[in-house]
Structures are given as C-alpha cells and as structure tokens.
C-alpha cells in the first residue's frame, strides 16, 4: 500500500512543523498531550504531535496501488523490516498511538511532507526514545541499519527535492568586490570591514546565499569613497622615498627597557619579589643577559634574534623582531633587508635556519599577520649576509611593520646548540638593516586618472556639467561591466554632483562623490543578467571572467563581445586558455581549492605546543601546498586521480623537511618528483588535509574518515544527530578504544562504522601531518576497511589503491563542486542528466583538470539561465 498525498494541497504551514505559532498553538488547544511517546519523550513529543496530528489530515485519502509490480528501493528493503518488526504494532492499524501509522508511510519520498514524516521517525530513533523502554529492544546492529537507511535516504531526498532552478542573481562576494575595484581603480582595498559572505553548498559564489543589509550598504559606501580617494585623490605625483631602518635601535630599546625594569625591581623589591626566589633569579638573569647581548659583535650594526644570550627569557619575544616602517600613503613599496647568522658559526650552516617575513598593515596589527612575504633560508654568517628584496602593497593609512620571526624548527635548533657552544660560538640570527622604498609609481598620471577624467580635471565653466555627465556615464558603464545605465539614473547622479558642487566641493571631489554612488548601486554590486533563456555575449564574458578571475572581463573579452564572436566554441576555448594562463586565474585556483578542500579551517586549528616543528610559517606552507597542487593539475591538465595518488608533490624547503623528502635546495615552491617509497602524493599526504581533520593535538580518524568519504569517495555523511547522549566519559588509552564507543550506540554506529575505519588508514600521519611509527607508547595501528566492509587495508598506501579502484564517485563529486562554483548555484537532482553527460565527457578525457574547466565553460548550463 502506498499512500499518496492526494485530496488537497497540503498547506505549507502544515508541513512546516509549526513554523508559525498559530499552527502549534492550535495543537495545544486540541490537547494532544495526554498521549505519550515514551518515557523520555515528553519534551519533543509536543512538536511531534503537533506535526503528525495535522499531517494525518493530509494523508486523508489513499490510493491502493497494491498489485502493481514495483522495484523495491534500498531505502525500503533496509528500513521496512525494522519498521514492521518494531513500530507498526503500536503505530499501525490496530493501535495507531499518537495517531501515527507507520504502516502507511511511503518509502518513496516524493515531497517535503514525505521527508518530514520520516525525519520525525529518525529523530525519535536518534533520541533513543523509540521503541519505548518497556518494549522489546532491537539489536544494536539492527537499529544501526535502520538509522543508516533513514539518514541516507533523507539526505538523498533532500538533494532530490532541492529547489535548483536557474542561476540566482549573484552579488559580488568579498573577493570579487575587491578584484572588481582593483580592475576599475587600479588599487587594492582591504575588505575586512565587510560582513562575511553567506555560504551555501560550500562556495562563496552561490547567489542564493548572498544577502545585503543596511550594514553592507554603509560599509560599501565607506569603502568606495576611500578607494576613490586613494585612486584619484592624489593630485601630485607622490615623492618616492627610500628609508633605511637601523634595526639595532629597535632591538636595543627593547633590551634597555627590560633591563631597566628588572634593575628597578632588584633595587626596590616588592613583597612579591622578596617572596619568590624564582622572580629574583629571573630579574638577575635579565640584567646579565642584557650585558651579554651588548657584547655580541653583531649587535653593533643590527639586531639579533634567537640567541640564548639575551635578556629575553621568553622564546617568543626572542624569536621575533618587529620593525616599524614609516607611515606612508597606500601604494606599492619595495622592501629590502639584509640578514644572516650572527656567527662565527660552527660549520653547520646547511642544517637550515629559517626566518619568516611578514608585512603588517593596519591599526589592529597586534592580532593580524597581514601578509606573509616569504620564509627565507639564511646561509651566510656575520659579517657576511644576504640581501633580500620584495614588493608589498600598503592598503591603509595606518601604522605598518615588518616582522621577522624565526620558524619553530629554527628556534629548536638554536636552543639545542646552547649547551654545546659554551660561549665561544654564537648561534643566532642577525638582521642588519631594513629598507623601504616607495610608493613605486611607474606611470604618472596613473592610468585610472586618465580613464576617469579622460579630458582633464579642469573643464571650462560652461562645459563643466556636460563633461561631468560624460565622466559619470563612462564610469558607470565600466562599473556595470558594459550594461548600459539608464539616462534617468545618470541624470540622478548628475543631480547629486550639482548638490555636491553647491556645497562647495571642487569639481574633482564632487565627481568622486558621485562615482562612489555608482559603486553602491545594484548594477555594480550584482552580476545582472537579463530575462532571456540564454545568456547574451556580454553576460557570457562576465560569467567567464568571474569564474576564472573573480574579476570583470578585460578589453579582449569585451572586444569579442562587441564583434559577437565570444560564443563560438573554438574562440571560447582559446579564451579559457588565455584566461587560465593569466596570473589572475590564481583567483580561481586558490578560491576553488581553498573552498573545496575547506582549507580555511587550517587557520582555526590551535596546534599543541608539543609539536615543536609546527609554526605559522609551516601553516602557511601547508595551505600553499594544497592550493598550488590543485593549480598545477590544472596547469598541466593532469588527471583528477592525482588527488588520490600522485608521484609528484608541490613542496617548498620547509615542507620537504617536515615530510622528510630529500630534495635539492629549493627557492619557493617546486613540483617535486617523490621517491618511490614516499607516503606523500595526493591529498592524503598533504599537511593541510591531515591537520584540519584533527584538533591540533590528536589525530581524528573520524574527521579524516568523513573527509575522505566526502572528497575522495564522493559520499556525503549526514551530520551528527542531535540529542544522542554523550559518549561514555571513560578515559581511553588508544584511539581505537576511544572510537569503539561509537559502535556501542546504534545512533552512532550507523555512520561511524563506514567512516572511522577509513580514517584509521591515515594513522601514520600525526596531528600535523608528520610521519610516525609510534602513537604515544603504542605502535601505530593503521588497519582499516573500506565502507563496503570487505576490502581491508593497512596504512595509506593500500588505502589509496582501493580508492583508485573507484574513481567515478570522486570525480562526480568534484565535478559537482566545480559546477556549483562556476554557475554560482546549487546543483541538485534536476541537474543529474547534465552531470551524467558532463561526467562521461570528462571521463573520455581522462579526468584532466584543465579539460574539466573547458567542459564546464562549453556546457549548456554555463550558457543558460
């Protein structure tokens, strides 16, 4: 018997689990509460009844389709036996407790009401409320099977029922906004003041997740005014200056200050000082350290970091040098500095002394390492040194610093030498000087100036209005990505211009204020597309450039649009190649890989201090590794199977060291051929992936298993159910013991049995991705089994072999993710044919990552609405 929701349309309020208060209120009036779903169910019973009571009305008529041959789904075959054995006796034709008849529930979930009904059953099972305690209890395994079937079935149903439809009007996300402003005005801005983008389906390009509010509008306006001011506000060519900071002053001041403080404390001890021998010893050691520091030869002309012979007993202070730079206008600057080892040295220069360099910009500098410029390897010894040169961009008008920070591994190395050096050999890092030059202005007046004020900034009085109008109109056209602004709107802006003039603003300032309004108009903030079924060429250019550059179309694309040639498949192909070769395509490879692989989680991981090799620079390298690996697959059109296993890896010196890969000295990142026996290669061996799926202290086979399942097996895992009682709070010794608790409870086992064993395969990698053979006092236990429960493996190499056996689900999931990103909408059940077609085509091209981009752009969906 298959009940159907015929009769009348179910009022959505009824379906919505009492979303509006009137629905549930009505139910309380109807006194459903005497019914009880079970001992612990009181709390949730109300709402369950509220819904079910009404849904009952919806069931109303039934159609008996018995006799018709039908296919029994996996959902039904796994679930029905359980329902019939454990539920129907009370919720069936005889008793129908809670006015609930599970015998009438359809196993073919066709609509929201159907999904809701089963959802309630799942919720009761998860909460451990059903069957009631005084009834026969199902076996754990039986329960787990039922819960798994329900969870998976509902997940699939949710997907199927998802409203997909066309592309929803997309607002520029923060990245796109920043790039678009850069394209328009030739400057970079800091978008920190904008609210976070909404996020649906994991990508910031999905239009349905974007929203706009008062706060957005105010911040957009503020940013636009500031950006225009930076871009157009400088009327004279800024003088480029070159300033060299003698860093010894910075360091000596710090040394003097802490010495003076401790001297005073020694002279006039407080009660606390007297009471604590430790404090006195500390104070004395600081004074002694300051004396020793001043005797180092290298401190006469520079600052020394990481030496044990300093007054800084705390490692962090000793390992960091923050040099203030002159506070100059925003723009591009050149940074040079000279650094080496504070030697004379004991001949182990090759051991690897690393120092990270950051540019810190902005008033909240205490908290943010704004831009990591590099991690440098120091190979020369005092008085010899190397010179380094970088460019950085100053965004704000506030204070800025250059910060040098020894990597954790280097700090350890320096510490280890203390005992051996006995005073003669000085092991430390030395920074001689830091130099800033800029702003670098290659062209003057700046191109943006010419493009905005195309006929100068001082029009004749009688032409002023007409000229202002044309300046505004041209700017709006560019800002709107060649969508024509209406005359009425331009007139409105001109009206504002006149108001500003009346107020006493100069011509240029008044224009600038009017242009700021363009940048808060919907034509700029939204990627506007017309109502036609297919997109026109201008819209295609926008989709293409925002897909691959997160930025507006450039001249060449717009020319093709004007000639009407962009939609030609061969031309489109050539353009994709051109856009991907352009360095702006890093916007795509970085944003997509970061979001697909969830790399931003890496910033949130607090790594336990026991992992001495891990530091901010390694964190930075981890992220870069995964991003650059993705970019390299695209660049070389390598197969997506390399995400599972690859004989190459994208490494820098620090990663090679961390992974124990013997590689010749490198500068920056390189595509390195891995040794035969290396466990690296593919996502599984990447530090970022291993670290984010843990808590910075321990590995998490659960999180790793879920991640593997989602990314490499293409299977989503339902979120943990609410209100499952806490796992037992015993103290577990091994990870396996800890996780075996999951198997004791059916609600947990239903998912964990297919997830945890996958994660165990990676146990040879510790919480920060380094190789290990021991886990504490035990040998690493990396035995696992694939979700089918059949294919066993030991360690990641064997796991990879199994994963490579089923490329289809992984590539399908990746394809879906990239389609979501490219189209800016969720991909749902309605897209299954599109996906199948694209996937077949991709398979024929051996899952090449560059081919994937071409396929997406050439697809019907990319050019339809």
């Amino acid at each position: 018997m298959v009940p159907q929701f015929t009769g009348r349309q179910i009022n959505s309020r009824v379906v919505t689990l009492g979303l509006s208060s009137s629905v549930s209120h009505m139910n309380t009036q109807r006194q459903f509460n005497p019914l009880n779903l079970g001992k612990r169910s009181g709390l949730l019973a109300g709402i369950a009844l509220a819904y079910l009571g009404l849904a009952q009305e919806g069931f109303g008529q039934e159609q008996d389709t018995a006799g018709a041959p039908r296919v029994v789904s996996e959902f039904e075959s796994k679930l029905r036996p359980f329902i019939e054995a454990h539920c129907v006796r009370c919720h069936g034709p005889r008793k129908s407790k809670a006015r609930l008849r599970l015998d009438q529930f359809s196993y073919d979930i066709q609509d929201e009401a159907g999904a809701q009904s089963w959802q309630l059953v799942l919720d009761r099972l998860n909460a451990g409320e059903m069957p009631p305690e005084d009834e026969l209890q199902p076996e754990t395994k039986e329960m787990a099977t039922a819960i798994a079937a329900l969870s998976d079935g509902l997940l699939a149903a949710q997907e199927r029922l998802a409203a997909t439809g066309g592309v929803v009007l997309r607002k520029l996300n923060k990245r796109e906004y920043e790039n678009t402003i850069r394209d328009l005005l030739g400057i970079s801005i800091d978008t920190k003041s904008l609210p976070e983008d909404g996020n649906l389906g994991g990508f910031d390009t999905v239009g349905a997740a974007h929203f706009i509010s008062q706060l957005h509008f105010e911040r957009y306006h503020k940013l636009a005014r500031r950006a225009l001011d930076v871009a157009l506000g400088v009327r004279e060519k800024p003088a480029s200056i070159k300033v060299r900071s003698q860093v010894e002053l910075v360091r000596n001041r710090e040394v003097d200050a802490i010495e003076l403080k401790c001297q005073n404390q020694l002279k006039n001890p407080t009660g606390r000082d007297r009471a604590s021998l430790g404090r006195r010893m500390y104070q004395k050691s600081v004074v002694k350290g300051a004396g020793r520091y001043r005797q180092l030869p290298s401190v006469q002309s520079g600052a020394v970091l990481g030496s044990p012979r300093t007054p800084f007993t705390r490692g962090t202070k000793n390992a960091i040098l923050r040099v203030p730079l002159p506070n100059r206008e925003p723009g591009v600057y050149r940074l040079r500095f000279r650094a080496g080892l504070a030697g004379p040295f004991d001949g182990e220069l090759d051991a690897g002394y690393f120092m990270s360099v950051y540019h810190i910009d902005g008033w909240d500098a205490e908290q943010t390492l704004n831009e990591s410029l590099d991690t440098v390897k120091l190979v020369k010894s005092f008085p010899e040194a190397q010179e380094f040169e970088y460019r950085f961009e100053k965004l704000s008008r506030s204070k800025q610093f250059i910060e040098f920070q020894l990597t954790e591994a280097t700090q350890d190395l320096l510490l280890s030498k203390v005992s051996r050096s006995k005073g003669e050999v000085v092991t430390a890092v030395w920074v001689d000087w830091v130099e800033m030059e800029g702003p670098l202005v290659p062209v003057w007046p700046p191109p943006v100036w010419e493009s905005v004020f195309f006929a100068g900034t001082s029009p004749a009085a009688d032409e002023e209005l007409a000229y202002a109008r044309e300046v505004i109109r041209r700017f709006a056209l560019r800002a709107f990505r060649q969508r024509k602004p209406s005359e009425e709107y331009i007139d409105g802006l001109l009206g504002l211009f006149q108001e500003y003039c009346l107020e006493g603003l100069s011509f240029v300032d008044a224009v600038q204020e009017s242009l700021a309004i363009v940048l808060v108009s919907p034509g700029f903030l939204y990627l506007v597309e017309g109502d036609a079924a297919r997109i026109d060429q201008r819209e295609l250019a926008c989709r293409l450039s925002y897909f691959l550059w997160s930025a507006p179309p450039d001249e060449e694309l717009l020319e093709l649009v004007a000639k009407g040639q962009l939609a030609d498949p061969a031309q489109l192909r050539a353009q994709v190649e051109r856009l991907l070769k352009d360095e702006r395509s890093a916007a795509f490879t970085e944003a997509f890989s970061t979001q697909w692989l969830e790399l931003e989680r890496l910033d949130m991981i607090v790594v336990n201090r026991t992992f001495r090799s891990f530091g901010e620079s390694l964190r930075h390298s981890f992220k870069q590794e995964s991003v650059r690996f993705f970019a390299e697959l695209v660049r070389q059109n390598l197969s997506a199977s390399q995400f599972i296993d690859s004989d190459h890896a994208m490494l820098d010196e620090a990663l090679a060291q961390h992974y124990g890969v013997d590689a010749s000295p490198m500068s920056g990142f390189q595509w390195v051929k891995l040794p035969e026996d290396s466990p690296r290669g593919g996502l599984i061996g990447q530090g970022a992936i291993l670290t984010i799926n843990g808590n910075g202290a321990r590995t998490s086979p659960v999180e790793r298993g879920v991640y593997l399942s989602r990314k490499l097996l293409g299977k989503d895992i339902p979120p943990p159910p609410p209100n499952v009682p806490q796992l037992s709070t015993k103290l577990f010794i091994t990870m396996r013991e800890r996780l075996s608790a999951h198997m004791e409870q059916a609600q947990c086992a239903s998912c964990h049995q297919s997830v945890d064993p996958l994660g165990f395969g990676l146990e040879h990698f510790d919480a920060v991705g380094a190789w290990r053979t021991m886990d504490g006092e035990n040998e690493v236990d990396a035995l696992g089994v694939m979700p089918d429960g059949l294919r066993k493996f030991n360690g990641s190499d064997e796991l990879k072999q199994h994963l490579l056996e089923e490329l289809e689900p992984m590539t399908e999931a990746l394809m879906k993710a990239s389609l979501t990103y490219a189209l800016g909408r969720r991909i749902g059940f309605a897209d299954r044919e599109l996906l199948a077609k694209l996937h077949a085509a991709w398979k024929a091209e051996d899952y090449g990552m560059r081919s994937l981009v071409h396929l997406l752009v050439q697809s019907e969906a990319f050019q339809a609405k």
């Binding site: 709402i47 029922l161 609210p195 919907p522 506007v528």
Partner: protein, 424 residues
C-alpha cells in the same frame, strides 16, 4: 500549569511596566532587553543540582554569587522546533525558536527573532530600535549560520557590529556638526537613496521573476535606511548623547573585547540610545586567553566533546563556564552602578538573558539559561526554576520577556504562554 493555558498576564503591559512602577509625574525609566549568547554549550557541572530559592550555586556560577538576588537559573527550557536540527548552531535559532528545516530542499530558513519583535515596540522613542553586536566570526564558533543573533521579519540575518570604534562612532558620534549641517547631510543621504533606487528599478525590469525577489532585499535596505533617516530627522535637534566612556582606540581580544562591548552596551542603555541589544559573544578568542594563561590550547568545538574529566578539553570548558559567569557578573556590576533617569539603577529596568542553543556536546535540550535584572516589574530572583517539560519551550520565555517589558504580543514562534512562576 496546563499546556492549554495561554495568556496568564492581564494587559498590564499596555501602559508599560515602567510607567506603572514609577510614581506619577516623575520621569519613568524605560524598559530594556539584553540578550547574550555564547558558542557551543556548557559542561554538565554548570547546572545546579538543587532547585528553588535554596539552590546551591555551582562552581561555574560562583562568580555570580554577589548578584544572587538579581538573577535566576531557568532550567529545562528547549527550543523545541530546532532541537531536532543542526547540532552546532548555538546562535542561529536561539532567539527565533524557529524550525529552520521547515522547507526541506531549500535547505534553510529562519524567522524573526524576539529582539526584533521587541524593537518594534521598545524602539519607537529611541535613536536605534535595536543594536546587534557580534564577537563571533566564522564557522568554528559554535554559533551556526547568521551574522548576529538577530533575524528580520523575512528571516534574513541582520549583520552585527564587531568593531568597537565603529560602534562608538555610531552611538556617540565622531564630529561636532551643527544642526544645519546635519540636516543637509540627511537630505543628501536621501537623494543618494533616490538615485540608487533608479538603478534598482532598471535592474528589476531586466532580471526575471525569481531574481526580482532576490533584488527585493536591495529595495528593502533602501526602505530601512530611509526609515532610519526619518528617525534621524526626528532626532535632529537633539545632539548625540555624551558619554564618559572614552573612544576605544584599538581592537581588543577575548575578555577585553567582551568587557569593552559591555561598557559600550551600558553606555548605550544609559544614554537611552537603544533599549534592545543582542550580543553574540566570541568563543575562539576567549579560549586563546586560557591558552596563554595555562599553555592549554583547545579548539572551541573540542571543548564540549570531552571524554574523561582529566582531559584538557574538559578543563578548558570548566574555565570557560566560570569565565562566562564572571563576565556576566561584570556586566551586572556595570548596570547596577549606572543611574537611570528616575534615580534607580539600570539593572532595575533591564532584563538580561545569557544562554545558548546547545546544552553540551550534541544535546539541544534543557539549555543553560540565565535571566538577570529586575526589568519588567518585580521578579523573584535568586532561584533555580525548573520548568516542567511540557512548559519548557524557550519561546515561552521570549514571550514572557516581551510581555514584561510592555510589548503587546500574545504569542511568539511556537510559544504556548508566558512563564509565570517567577513573578507576582
């Protein structure tokens, strides 16, 4: 109390509780609501074992001891409709009590939060109908979707302010403009909205039906700014209030961040700039403080998923439980010290809720909720109220608070009726 009971309160609230309590002719103090929320849940040991007025404060609540007669612990309250949803959304439905899964397939929808309902009533006579503050940013704060605790009538998130400097400027102004200058500025802002509306109309004509709906958000924001400008015009003659608080100069973290927000909140209430405030407090930066103090670095999520009590996770959680109590105690100190217009203290005229939508781990029932302050008339504080499960809808509390401060509402979300035990 039977579940069929609905409105227990007479329409006392009509005239406003504050007006009723203050003597005739004397300027009465306004009523205010403050909602504080934190990420993830507490430990089980947060909850008192005993109930009633003699309940024993747990160690976690001990820092609140000096305010014992100014707060109560409300036990056994649950957001029924969201107690079946995502397990790490401590803030998303906290004040909406909504069922976010109401339309499967669309993935997510929310409903108006009770602070916004309150703002419609309490916000009429003040510069800012409500203030939304947030310290929690990002996805690992145990807050869930949304950019603050507040959701508008369409179920859209209202982004919260996180920057102390911006907030200070909004509340107390940066420059000294003349009335004429301010008037001109307002007029100009209106013209700006008129112009962007022209483009919005052009866009609306071009895009299809579904997208026009999306664009409605933009029209909505124009309308809401216009509403605010209208309000600003009403306030034109009145200069922005002065405060003794100094303008914050730099971004703070952890408890310093929270304390500064508390200072600004107190100043905002004392100057009657607003009467409704929500604040989603930060979690990760607070824990960093514990890490610096003790060397124990635990991530926020792991904190409530401890195993044995000896784990660093559990110790972190215990520390956070206590920290939250001492932070709340400091807010109550500030409110108590601040004089209201009628000579009473701000604490006398404010109701403060602190809590979250997660009990601990993945449990979404029987939430940790504290109600403090004496706003809305006499409350029998100093007790641990344990609500019977059928009355234990959190929406009942929201309804109660709304009614106590004078909002004329009969129901909120899935509420059944106000909680009466604490009053009268």
């Amino acid at each position: 109390m039977g579940s069929g009971a609905t409105l227990a309160l007479p329409l006392l609230s009509n005239s406003g509780m504050g007006a009723l309590l203050a003597g005739a002719g004397k300027r009465s103090a306004p009523q205010r609501l403050v909602f504080l929320n934190f990420g993830y849940g507490t430990s089980e040991s947060w909850f008192p074992d005993t109930t009633g007025v003699d309940y024993k404060l747990t160690e976690a609540l001990a820092p609140l001891a000096r305010h014992r007669q100014s707060f109560s612990v409300l036990g056994n309250l649950t957001n029924l409709q969201s107690a079946i949803a995502e397990v790490h959304w401590g803030a998303t439905t906290f004040l909406t009590s909504a069922n976010t899964r109401s339309t499967p397939g669309t993935g997510f929808r929310n409903d108006i939060s009770c602070d916004q309902v309150a703002a419609q009533h309490l916000g009429k006579d003040v510069r800012f109908p409500s203030l939304e503050l947030t310290g929690a940013q990002g996805t690992t704060e145990g807050a869930g979707p949304g950019a603050s605790l507040a959701w508008d009538v369409r179920g859209n998130s209202i982004p919260g302010e996180w920057d102390h400097v911006e907030l200070f400027e909004r509340l107390f102004g940066a420059g000294n403009m003349s009335v004429a200058q301010r008037r001109r500025l307002l007029k100009q802002k209106r013209s700006v909205l008129d112009v962007v509306r022209l483009d919005a109309r052009d866009v609306a004509k071009e895009v299809g039906g579904e997208n026009r709906q999306k664009l409605e958000e933009y029209f909505e924001l124009i309308r809401s700014i216009e509403g605010r400008l209208g309000r600003d015009e009403d306030w034109l003659e009145k200069p922005l209030p002065k405060t003794e608080l100094e303008q914050p100069s730099k971004r703070l973290q952890g408890s310093a961040d929270i304390e500064m927000m508390f200072d600004l909140m107190t100043a905002a209430l004392q100057t009657d700039s607003t009467r409704v405030i929500t604040y989603r407090m930060p979690t990760t930066t607070l824990l960093r403080e514990f890490g610096e103090e003790t060397g124990t670095n635990v991530m926020a999520h792991a904190m409530t998923h401890f195993g044995h009590k000896s784990t660093p996770e559990y110790r972190t959680l215990l520390w956070r439980d206590k920290k939250l109590s001492s932070l709340l105690a400091s807010l109550l100190d500030k409110l108590k010290a601040a004089r209201d217009v009628d000579g009473s203290s701000l604490l006398d005229n404010t109701l403060i809720v602190m809590g979250t939508g997660i009990r601990t781990g993945h449990l979404l029932q029987n939430l940790p909720i504290i109600l403090a302050g004496h706003g809305g008339g006499p409350i029998r504080h100093g007790a641990h109220y344990q609500y019977a499960s059928h009355a234990g809808r959190l929406s009942n509390l929201w309804l109660t608070l709304l009614q106590r401060v004078g909002c004329q509402v009969n129901s909120f979300a899935d509420s059944e009726g106000p909680l009466t035990e604490m009053f009268g």
